[in-house]
Subunit: 205 residues, 2 copies
């Protein structure tokens, strides 16, 4: 993603913009934050924010250090249809973690777990940019639930494979992981019976 | 768990023993660590370690701050047989997190993610005390794989529900979560086709 990967300007301008963006996005939320407000806080011209990050989406993604662009990968995974979507999503997730683009991800997990502001920022980003995009494309009931269940399985895999390094998950091949987790993610995303109320608990809310 | 919950002795003896235990277990592993070595490092009598923690297992569990005793809950969940095991395990996991016993768990996740020694200690504990116990009881192929896949789904749920607090998982009722995740965990633990080699990848290791 060369567009958000430009070298730092003199005096760490890029980092100053990102610090301002993290503060503005976590205080005001995605809707409330503005390029103009971020620029003012970083004491730079708004045009410079756009020069480094192209758009509000771009600065948001760089602020949470998300290594791949949901506007690119989600439509690509969804394009062949719902059949096999679970397998494609698990494969993409593992391949991203195992690639050079995945190297910042451990740091992202550490900051999200260790810091409430980072967790708020990531929640906003994941719900809006990742789960929201998948949800809008699914055309099934409870899309936000489906997308967050799929995310729960993928994040849990990352925790055991890359953070705690539990075997055999830590050394398993991508194909094996796809075979184990693909059906889970497929069920969460597309099973029509998933979100039906559980008869034993109806009316207990 | 009153047995490992005794009040600190004079001068924080209990905390000193736990610090020595964390160091000994992460340097020497569970097999290599000894009550005698932990006591020597904490500069206390070995009898005092047993007074506070009863056994090597007890001091290990206290060292990783694991809030429930796998020697108790795993046989209880497995006792009714493999049918419904996924549902029972998911329910137990969510009920533990939502109970007072679960309040240290967020701190446990933070220290595991933020600190490689804590991650090593937790990996040793989870593989030996939790996954190993489940695996021995399953009497199916690849028990360690099955148990770690189940753990990946549960940890991922904890990340989204309790750490990042993504909706609708953050506010869902226990019964709903059991309905969504129970079949996943059941498949990982007991599906006989789970661990069959994927024909498309045979011989590629």
């Amino acid at each position: 993603m060369p567009r958000t990967g430009r070298r730092p300007g003199p005096g760490g301008t890029r980092e100053r913009i990102l610090a301002a963006a993290r503060s503005d996005f976590s205080n005001a939320g995605y809707e409330g934050a503005t390029i103009r407000g971020i620029a003012a806080q970083a004491k730079v011209d708004p045009a410079l924010v756009l020069h480094y990050f192209e758009s509000k989406d771009g600065v948001f993604r760089a602020a949470v250090q998300f290594p791949v662009d949901p506007a690119e990968f989600i439509p690509r995974l969804l394009a062949p249809g719902l059949d096999g979507l679970g397998v494609r999503l698990v494969r993409f997730f593992v391949e991203t973690w195992d690639s050079p683009a995945g190297s910042p991800l451990l740091g992202v997990i550490r900051s999200v777990v260790g810091n409430d502001d980072a967790a708020t920022l990531m929640r906003e980003f994941v719900q809006r940019q990742v789960l929201g995009r998948i949800a809008r494309a699914l055309e099934l009931d409870q899309p936000q639930l489906r997308a967050s269940l799929a995310a729960s399985q993928l994040i849990g895999l990352a925790m055991l494979r890359y953070v705690v390094k539990v075997e055999p998950l830590a050394s398993a091949r991508t194909d094996e992981i796809v075979g184990w987790l693909g059906p889970t993610v497929q069920r969460y995303l597309t099973d029509r019976d998933l979100a039906k109320p559980n008869p034993s608990s109806r009316g207990r809310r």
